[in-house]
C-alpha cells in the first residue's frame, strides 16, 4: 500500500540556517509539504506588502532597494494592469545563486513571484532567465507545467530566455527586450514601475528576493528578522570563488564576519592577497580591511563596497591584483551596450590604462581622471561599477603598482 502524503506537514519547522538552501526540491508535492499553497484569493493585497515591509527585506540583485517600496509603487498603479518580472538574468560572471534557486527550488521562486503578483494586483508574471542557463530554464518550465495542472493560479506565469550579456539584466533593458526591443538600457524616467512591460506598471525583482518573500509570507517577518542585522535583516546567498575549498553558493546571515564566511568555505585570509566583495560590480578589500568587516552594506560602505549580489572572490596570495583588475576592466569595456559615448570610450580607455598599469606605465593619474569622467554619465550603472572597481584596485594594490612601475617582478611571477 502506498502512503498518501498529507497535504500539509504541520510538523515542518521554520528553518534556522540555512533557510533558502534548506529543503531544496523541484517536486511540487514535496514543496507543498513545506510551503502550503497560500489562499491568494482570500488574501487582501495589503497583507503581503505589510509583511514584507515589517521584514525589512531588501533586493538581492545588487541594488539593495527596499522590496516593500517597490511593491507599493506598483500596487499604487494597479489600475494600469501591472506585470511582475522575475529577474533571473544573473549577469554577474561569478554569480550562480539565482541559477541554484531556479534549478533546485523553482517552486519557492514561483511562490514568491505569485505572492508579489497578488500584492500588486498583477495578472501576468514573466520569469526572465539567461538563455545560456539551460538547466534553470528547463527546471522552471517543467515546474510551471506541473503547477498549472493542479494550481490554476499559476497559469499567469511564463518564461522568457534573454540574451547572455550583463546589461540585459538591467531592469530597463529587460523591459525593453520583453517589449520587442534590444536588451539595452533605456533612458529613465520612466522607470519600469511607471511604464514597463507593454507600457504597464512593472515590478522587477531578483530571483533570490522573491524566494525570501515567499519565506516571509510562510514564516513571518519576525522569523525573517531573527537572522541578519537590524538595518539589513535576513540571510543572503553568496557565491564564493577563488582561493577556497568549497567554491560555490553558500547561505550566510547578513552581517556575518567576512573572515568567518571565507573560513566556512574552506579559505583563509592569511592565504589571500585581497578579496573582491560584491563581484565585478563591487570593490577590492585588502586582507586587513576584510578582517575588520562584516558582510553588510553598513560595514562595507566606508570601503566604497557593498554586498551587491553576494559574490566573494578570494584572490590567492600568489596572484597579481593588477592583472586581475585589468582583466575585469577589460570585461567591463566589452559589456558596454555601445549606447553612451562616455561609456563606450571611457571604459575602453580605462581597460587600456589598467593594462598599461600592469605593464609598468604610470597610468594612475589618467585612470583617476577617467573614473571621474565616466561616473554617473551613462543611461545605466555600468560605468559606475567600473569606476568603483578601478578606484578600489588603485588603493588596495598601490604597492603592486609601485613594484610594476619600478620594474620589479610581480607577485604572480615570483611564485
Amino acid at each position: 500500500m502506498v502512503a498518501v502524503p498529507a497535504l500539509v506537514d504541520l510538523d515542518v519547522e521554520s528553518p534556522t540556517l540555512p533557510r533558502l538552501l534548506a529543503g531544496l526540491t523541484d517536486n511540487l508535492a514535496e514543496h507543498r509539504r513545506q510551503y502550503p499553497a497560500p489562499p491568494l484569493s482570500a488574501r487582501p493585497r495589503g497583507d503581503i506588502t505589510t509583511a514584507v515591509e515589517r521584514s525589512g527585506l531588501r533586493g538581492r540583485g545588487g541594488a539593495g532597494f527596499p522590496t516593500s517600496r517597490k511593491l507599493q509603487a506598483v500596487a499604487e498603479r494597479a489600475k494600469g494592469k501591472p506585470v511582475v518580472v522575475v529577474n533571473g538574468s544573473e549577469g554577474e560572471p561569478a554569480s550562480s545563486k539565482d541559477a541554484v534557486l531556479l534549478t533546485k527550488h523553482p517552486h519557492l521562486v514561483l511562490d514568491g513571484a505569485l505572492l508579489a503578483a497578488a500584492a500588486v494586483g498583477a495578472r501576468d508574471v514573466v520569469v526572465a532567465i539567461d538563455c545560456n542557463a539551460t538547466r534553470a530554464l528547463r527546471s522552471v518550465s517543467v515546474a510551471i507545467a506541473e503547477r498549472t495542472r493542479t494550481e490554476p493560479s499559476s497559469r499567469i506565469v511564463r518564461v522568457a530566455a534573454i540574451p547572455h550579456r550583463f546589461v540585459a539584466g538591467e531592469e530597463t533593458a529587460l523591459v525593453n527586450w520583453l517589449n520587442g526591443g534590444e536588451a539595452k538600457p533605456t533612458l529613465t524616467p520612466p522607470r519600469p514601475f511607471e511604464a514597463g512591460v507593454d507600457g504597464r506598471p512593472t515590478l522587477v525583482d531578483n530571483v533570490e528576493t522573491l524566494a525570501h518573500l515567499a519565506q516571509i509570507v510562510r514564516w513571518g517577518p519576525e522569523w525573517f528578522r531573527e537572522q541578519g542585522t537590524d538595518a539589513e535583516p535576513g540571510t543572503m546567498l553568496v557565491t564564493i570563488t577563488g582561493a577556497v575549498e568549497q567554491v560555490g553558493v553558500h547561505e550566510v546571515p547578513i552581517g556575518a564576519r567576512l573572515s568567518t564566511v571565507i573560513r566556512n568555505a574552506g579559505g583563509s585570509l592569511s592565504r589571500a592577497r585581497a578579496v573582491l566583495v560584491g563581484g565585478y560590480f563591487g570593490a577590492w578589500l585588502s586582507t586587513d580591511q576584510a578582517r575588520r568587516t562584516r558582510l553588510c552594506d553598513e560595514d562595507l560602505r566606508p570601503f566604497g563596497a557593498g554586498v551587491g549580489c553576494g559574490v566573494i572572490v578570494v584572490l590567492p596570495k600568489d596572484a597579481c591584483g593588477l592583472k586581475e583588475t585589468a582583466r575585469i576592466l577589460g570585461w567591463y569595456a566589452n559589456e558596454s551596450a555601445g549606447q553612451c559615448g562616455s561609456c563606450v570610450h571611457g571604459l575602453a580607455a580605462i581597460a587600456g590604462g589598467a593594462a598599461d598599469l600592469f605593464h609598468g606605465d604610470d597610468a594612475v593619474d589618467r585612470l583617476i581622471r577617467w573614473a571621474g569622467q565616466v561616473e554617473g554619465r551613462g543611461a545605466c550603472q555600468l560605468p559606475n561599477g567600473a569606476a568603483r572597481l578601478l578606484r578600489s584596485g588603485l588603493v588596495v594594490f598601490a604597492d603592486e603598482i609601485e613594484r610594476h612601475r619600478s620594474g620589479q617582478s610581480c607577485t604572480e611571477l615570483d611564485a
Partner: protein, 86 residues
C-alpha cells in the same frame, strides 16, 4: 521658476555644439561628450540654454523645469540602485 539642462546620453553623439553655446553649464570629457552641470539656469543664462537645446543636431539636450526645491533629486537616489544589473 528655474530650469536645468539635461542630456540624453544615449541620443548624444558628442558633436559638442552645446559646450560651445553654454560653457557655463556644459564641458566636454576627454572623448568630446558633454558633462552637464545640472545646477539651476537663471534668467540671464536661459536664452543661451534654449539656443543650445535648439542647436543640438541630434536633439539630445533638454531644458527641464524645476518645479520645487529638491525636485528631481529622486534621480540621484535612483542612480544608487543598481540592478538590476548596472
Amino acid at each position: 521658476m528655474s530650469h536645468r539642462v539635461r542630456v540624453d546620453p544615449i541620443a548624444c553623439d558628442g558633436r559638442g555644439v552645446c559646450a560651445e553655446l553654454l560653457p557655463e553649464r556644459i564641458s566636454l570629457d576627454d572623448w568630446g561628450y558633454p558633462i552637464v552641470d545640472d545646477s539651476p539656469v537663471d534668467d540671464r543664462l536661459l536664452p543661451h540654454a534654449k539656443r543650445a537645446v535648439e542647436q543640438c543636431p541630434v536633439i539630445a539636450l533638454r531644458l527641464e523645469r524645476i518645479r520645487f526645491r529638491g525636485d528631481g533629486d529622486h534621480r540621484a537616489a535612483a542612480a544608487g540602485d543598481r540592478q538590476a544589473a548596472p
